[in-house]
């Protein structure tokens, strides 16, 4: 038997979907799990945070961090994993780019508190909890603002086969090689290079099942998105919303690239586009606002406010 690889898996603020996707390698678990010496994985094994903190620095081979850092505790766990692990993986889109919960940066944290804790349809005059809970960061910063990562594995969630490829490479000590194509490469729909006459919301009409959804007027981010998903949605009649982020180099601005893509497909006047695309920031920066240029300006604004 190959020697076990030590691994610590941490969860920031997230949905656990990336870990569910790991579980979904199904019977391959029987091959992979025995090769891993799990030092920390709160949802699966019974070690506590103090156990993780007690390991010597760089004593664990691989660290995996799922989710974004919403609380001080999340930031602490992220930094602890970085300190204890030789290789650190940003696991999933939240960890790579901020993810869907990064959309909270569209608003001020006080406005978030209002609907969550102070007043909503089922309560009124509540207060923000503060006893035995970690303080909430006023803004979502990309995880790479706090630590350096060695590997980025995007996807909401990364597919099970992608995770298996990555784990196998790590266990064998090899570089992870990933194809650079966009979603369109995996889409079976036909492109006819015809201009988009009008932008349609996704519930409108019934799409031709054989033709490019974007050319039919449905906003689809496939041509600006890394195709590690292998086209799961587009091949089932569903437009891409960009959940794997941009293709390599992944530091490029996914939202800006998506808008530029739309511009080249839909030669509409700016006023028409504005009218027909009701929520550009929510369409084009849904998964990566905190790590985009726009999102970075938002974070700087927050820093300026807090510096006062």
């Amino acid at each position: 038997m190959t020697e076990q690889v030590s691994i610590a898996l941490g969860q920031g603020s997230s949905c656990w979907g990336c870990f569910q996707s790991l579980i979904d390698i199904h019977l391959k678990l029987a091959d992979v799990l025995p090769l891993l010496d799990i030092k920390y994985w709160q949802a699966v094994v019974d070690y506590k945070l103090s156990d993780l903190e007690s390991y010597p620095d760089k004593s664990i081979a691989v660290g995996v961090y799922e989710g974004m850092a919403r609380t001080e505790e999340d930031v602490h766990l992220l930094k602890t994993l970085r300190a204890k692990c030789k290789i650190l993986i940003a696991f999933g889109t939240c960890s790579c780019f901020g993810g869907i919960p990064g959309m909270a940066n569209f608003y001020d944290i006080e406005d978030c508190y209002d609907v969550k804790f102070r007043n909503n349809k089922t309560f009124s005059d509540g207060e923000v909890p503060s006893e035995n809970v970690p303080p909430i960061e006023s803004i979502v910063r990309p995880n790479r603002h706090y630590v350096d990562f060695d590997v980025y594995l995007p996807g909401c969630p990364p597919t099970s086969s992608l995770i298996l490829t990555a784990l196998t490479s790590l266990i064998e000590g090899k570089e992870i090689e990933l194809p650079p194509h966009t979603v369109c490469h995996y889409c079976s729909r036909e492109k006819k290079e015809t201009p988009v006459p009008e932008i349609l919301r996704p519930f409108k009409g019934n799409a031709d099942p054989d033709r490019c959804l974007l050319e039919q007027g449905y906003i689809c981010l496939g041509s600006a998105t890394w195709g590690l998903c292998e086209g799961q949605c587009v091949n089932k009649g569903v437009t891409c919303r960009g959940c794997f982020g941009p293709p390599p180099p992944i530091t490029q601005d996914h939202g800006a690239a998506s808008i530029s893509m739309l511009g080249s497909y839909a030669p509409l006047l700016p006023d028409e586009l504005k009218e027909q695309v009701p929520d550009p920031i929510g369409y084009f920066w849904r998964f990566d606002y905190p790590s985009s240029h726009l999102g970075n300006m938002r974070i700087k604004r927050e820093d300026a406010k807090n510096a006062k």
Binding site: G17, L27, Q42, A43, E73, N120, K121, F123, P129, V238
Partner: protein
């Protein structure tokens, strides 16, 4: 009080989220306070504002990676309620297939990966072995049947939902993708093996319950209200009315989702970002209710499918109705797995499941207020959105499944803490030899 002792469990493990436990003991050894501290939140209700309402079913699944399908469906139902849209019958059947498949895989992962290690290795086993990786090592046959059930559920979700985690095919007015005949045929072929694994799971669960009956009937027996969806009195996870049962077993309310604000109260605790949901007419904390498997089995008159209903009768003979036994949640989980398996078979055998008439083409947004409710594996899940005339969300209220249970978890933890620290009851429990000795 200088002599007070605080016990902190951080994090609570085998939980797919952020929880810690704080127990305060007085100098007299009495349990003074128990807190279940949920340490994170992400503000979905705020950032849904401003989004086109049809995008909500594509955003809200990210609330939970284990139960993204119930979120996808509660969300699309809320949009359809606000816009007065009724999807075609075949689309409803596909959605039901999707949610039953999810119920199956979620209950399997919970029973085998989160709960079973305690029963297989015993509650006092070393933390390093009390996990699913050790189950795989010591009981490979059991692990394989668990993995095959999870695989069946998750992969069926992928077929219907495009993605097993964070599905995308439900849209206001129906489904974006019909089930193809060859896909249906492939799934039908896999049903017999799945049913065989369900039977093995039922046998294993019965065995475990018998071995641990002293724990089931003595630890954390906590009377609360219960909430769950019923359809014509039967347990249903996709559609129906919300029923509330009081601690004595009396049905005190049965209402349409749209009327929820008359019955749902939400308490904002000072020590948890997950709020406490309760039965509003009874007030807080008297009206604390629980949701999830046992709650559904309590409120329903019967199960919707025959084998599951036999299993429910068997459980009721032992623990009664309502059952306040927190450990009976595992038993109820198995009964619901049986119902999910029976539903999946029935739906796959229904010729309409491959109908291509699954989506309306004339859906139009309008100003409205819609509520959508389904049962997530962990309890009743509610999405409520308001939108303007263009269909842009102006207000959102989400009552997620787990929040129905947080106050109840705290209450049953208090009972368990008193049992352990005040009565030393755990020393007198009849515990079996572990299935696997480590």
């Amino acid at each position: 009080m200088p002599n007070d002792k605080v016990i902190r469990v951080d994090p609570v493990t085998r939980l797919e989220g952020h929880g810690a436990l704080t127990i305060k003991l007085g100098s007299d050894g009495k349990v003074k306070d128990v807190q279940f501290n949920v340490g994170s939140t992400r503000f979905f209700e705020k950032f849904l504002e401003g989004r086109p309402m049809e995008e909500a079913p594509r955003i809200t699944p990210r609330i939970c990676g284990i139960c993204p399908i119930p979120h996808h469906l509660a969300s699309v139902k809320a949009v359809e309620a606000a816009w007065d849209v009724t999807p075609p019958p075949a689309a409803v059947k596909l959605r039901r297939l999707l949610i039953e498949a999810k119920q199956l895989s979620s209950h399997a992962i919970h029973f085998y990966a989160l709960a079973a290690p305690d029963f297989v290795f015993g509650p006092f086993a070393d933390p390093s072995v009390r996990n699913v990786a050790a189950v795989l090592k010591h009981l490979p046959d059991v692990a394989v049947q668990a993995i095959k059930l999870m695989e069946f559920g998750q992969e069926l979700c992928r077929t219907v939902g495009a993605k097993a985690i964070h599905p995308t095919t439900a849209i206001p007015g129906g489904m974006l993708s019909p089930l193809k005949e060859d896909e249906r045929d492939e799934w039908l072929k896999k049903v017999p093996e799945m049913l065989e694994n369900i039977n093995k799971t039922v046998e294993l669960a019965k065995n475990v319950v018998n071995m641990y009956i002293d724990v089931v009937t003595k630890v954390a027996v906590t009377p609360t209200y219960y909430i769950g969806l019923v359809n014509d009195g039967k347990l249903d996870i996709y559609d129906g009315k919300v029923r509330v049962m009081d601690p004595d077993g009396k049905t005190v309310a049965e209402f349409e989702p749209k009327d929820y604000t008359n019955y749902y109260g939400e308490h904002i605790p000072g020590h948890s970002y997950a709020t406490h949901i309760y039965y509003k007419p009874a007030g807080y904390p008297d009206g604390i209710w629980r949701a999830n498997t046992l709650a559904r089995c309590n409120v329903a008159d019967e199960m919707a499918t025959p084998l599951a209903n036999e299993a429910l009768k068997e459980m009721r003979e032992v623990v009664g109705r309502p059952s306040h036994h927190t450990f009976a949640y595992h038993w109820a989980r198995i009964i619901e797995m049986v119902q999910a398996a029976e539903w999946i078979k029935t739906l796959l055998e229904d010729p309409e499941i491959v109908s291509t008439d699954v989506k309306l083409s004339d859906v139009e947004p309008k100003a409205g207020n819609g509520v959508g409710i389904v049962e997530a594996p962990r309890g009743t899940l509610l999405h409520n959105y308001e939108c303007d005339e263009k269909g842009i969300i102006t207000k959102a209220n989400l009552i997620v499944a787990t929040n129905n249970n947080i106050a109840g978890i705290e209450k049953s933890l208090m009972d368990a803490a008193r049992f352990v620290f005040e009565q030393k009851g755990h020393e007198k429990l009849k515990l079996p030899d572990p299935l696997v000795k480590t």
